[in-house]
């Protein structure tokens, strides 16, 4: 796909991680996060092991750690929730720098923080090495309902068009002196959203007619003929094997 069809988190590259079929990567990322979530929270060293494992994948994929770290800030809202827990949690309490903190609260906060962070890091690794087209192809090969894949394909093809339309509406409002500060001044923006819906819906009707005139029969043509071999699965699932070993270690040491 040309410009405008790459998503913002994708880092183009030719590393072995980039070349791996996307369905392998989706399954590996999902199973990896399942291992993380299933690990008992008291198994502190195991979580370090997960980080090292992710670090190894980044090294192979050629993703700088700083790049990942900056984008992992998306998790920030949950950090706020986690910070509250040590103050509101139950007894027993520990004294730390003059603050009285709840021990179970601290453990829960740690649990949410570390598992949430590892989840975001895994998702970022998947997103940064998988272009849109491959991701859709992967979902198709994982036997997601074809209607869902088709809707997702069309949505991703048109999101830039609709977002650009929304941006033009915003520029038009601003250039006419629109500067809303309070919720009750949101009327113009909301009417813009209404207009955006009507335009999107009518565009959908035109797209449907255009598809029909080009021979649409209800199925998207196959996007690629490349096949996935057992070797691809073996390579992709190797990190998951390590993650599983780490999770089992966690169960044993606690």
């Amino acid at each position: 796909m040309g410009a405008g069809h790459a998503h913002p988190l994708y880092r183009p590259g030719t590393s072995p991680v980039h070349r791996l079929p996307s369905e392998v990567k989706i399954v590996a990322a999902f199973l990896g996060v399942v291992c993380v979530v299933a690990t008992p929270r008291e198994a502190f060293p195991v979580f370090g092991g997960y980080l090292l494992l992710l670090g190894a994948v980044w090294a192979v994929a050629g993703i700088p750690v700083g790049w990942i770290a900056r984008r992992s800030l998306i998790e920030a809202p949950f950090v706020v929730l986690a910070v509250l827990l040590p103050f509101t949690g139950a007894e027993p309490r520990v004294e730390w720098l003059g603050l009285s903190l709840s021990e179970p609260g601290l453990l829960t906060a740690w649990n949410i923080l570390i598992k949430g962070t590892l989840g975001v890091l895994t998702s970022l690794t998947l997103a940064s090495t998988t272009p849109l087209r491959d991701l859709l192809l992967g979902l198709q090969r994982l036997h997601a309902p074809s209607l869902v894949v088709t809707i997702a394909t069309l949505m991703l093809r048109y999101i830039d068009v609709i977002a650009a339309e929304a941006l033009r509406m915003r520029l038009a409002r601003i250039s006419r002196g629109h500067d809303p500060r309070f919720l009750w001044q949101a009327g113009a923006t909301a009417r813009g959203v209404g207009a955006l819906f009507v335009r999107s819906y009518e565009r959908g009707e035109r797209v449907h007619l255009a598809m029909l005139s080009r021979g649409w029969v209800g199925e998207m043509p196959r996007l690629s003929d490349a096949t996935t071999t057992g070797r691809h699965w073996a390579i992709g699932l190797a990190p998951v094997g390590v993650a599983l070993a780490l999770a089992v270690t966690g169960w044993i040491i606690t």
């Binding site: 998306i74 989840g119 997103a127 869902v148 809707i151 977002a163 009507v198």
Partner: protein, 237 residues
């Protein structure tokens, strides 16, 4: 406005995440088959464009107070505009794309997120809207009030389902009462914002293309005869 609603990995334990994942899959399978009935062979392009619209809407910032802004969640909005089946499918696809491409919301939390926002959110909003349909069809003010209440209730109920999930699978150090008070209180405020904007948006669509508002379907407006005498104007055409 929805900061607190995209759950991350590890917030609830693995069995709970799996159970809600199963509910999400069943609900979506039903939504896929019913969405086909709603839109026939136009399903893919129409739902694709509506999904792109939902995605774009979540990028538009609304003012709340000076220095604070938020974006629309859109559950009640799509339920009223395109119906619950297509609507829940669109929101679910938005959530899946956000999890896979934008690392927004955990992969194992996708099931719980889909249940909260795509299934419960959309269907509660639609249920409220259908219950108030008589009012919505009567006047423009009625339609706006319906949209406001639907969006408010949908936001609060989605937050309550999150509390339920946390009660089942969280690690329960904080009393559920505290979590309930915090989440429901917060989402009551968020819901008011969501309601005001949803009402204004539905009102804007209804004044341009009332035929596109799913909630108003099946109620053709009575023919208005304008002219000097009713009978004369009627026979003139």
């Amino acid at each position: 406005m929805v900061l607190a609603m995209h759950m991350s990995d590890g917030l609830v334990n693995a069995p709970t995440a799996a159970a809600f994942g199963l509910i999400a899959v069943i609900g979506l399978a039903l939504a896929v088959s019913r969405a086909r009935a709603d839109l026939d062979d136009r399903t893919a392009p129409m739902a694709g464009l509506v999904t792109a619209f939902v995605f774009a809407v979540q990028m538009i910032n609304f003012p709340i107070l000076p220095g604070a802004s938020g974006h629309l969640l859109g559950g009640a909005l799509v339920a009223i505009l395109v119906g619950p089946w297509v609507g829940s499918l669109c929101i679910a696809i938005v959530l899946a794309v956000q999890a896979l491409l934008f690392a927004d919301g955990g992969l194992t939390a996708l099931g719980t997120n889909v249940v909260n926002m795509a299934l419960v959110g959309v269907f509660v909003g639609y249920g409220v809207a259908v219950a108030m349909r008589g009012l919505a069809r009567r006047s423009r003010a009625g339609l706006l009030a319906t949209a406001f209440v639907a969006a408010l209730v949908n936001t609060v109920v989605a937050a309550m389902v999150f509390v339920l999930q946390y009660a089942i699978g969280g690690d329960g150090v904080t009393s559920i009462g505290t979590v309930f008070g915090l989440m429901v209180g917060l989402h009551l405020l968020i819901g008011i914002g969501e309601g005001v904007i949803t009402a204004a948006t539905v009102g804007a669509v209804a004044s341009v293309r009332p035929d596109l508002v799913h909630l108003l379907r099946g109620a053709p407006p009575s023919l208005e005869l304008r002219g000097t005498g009713g009978a004369a104007a009627g026979s003139a055409t």
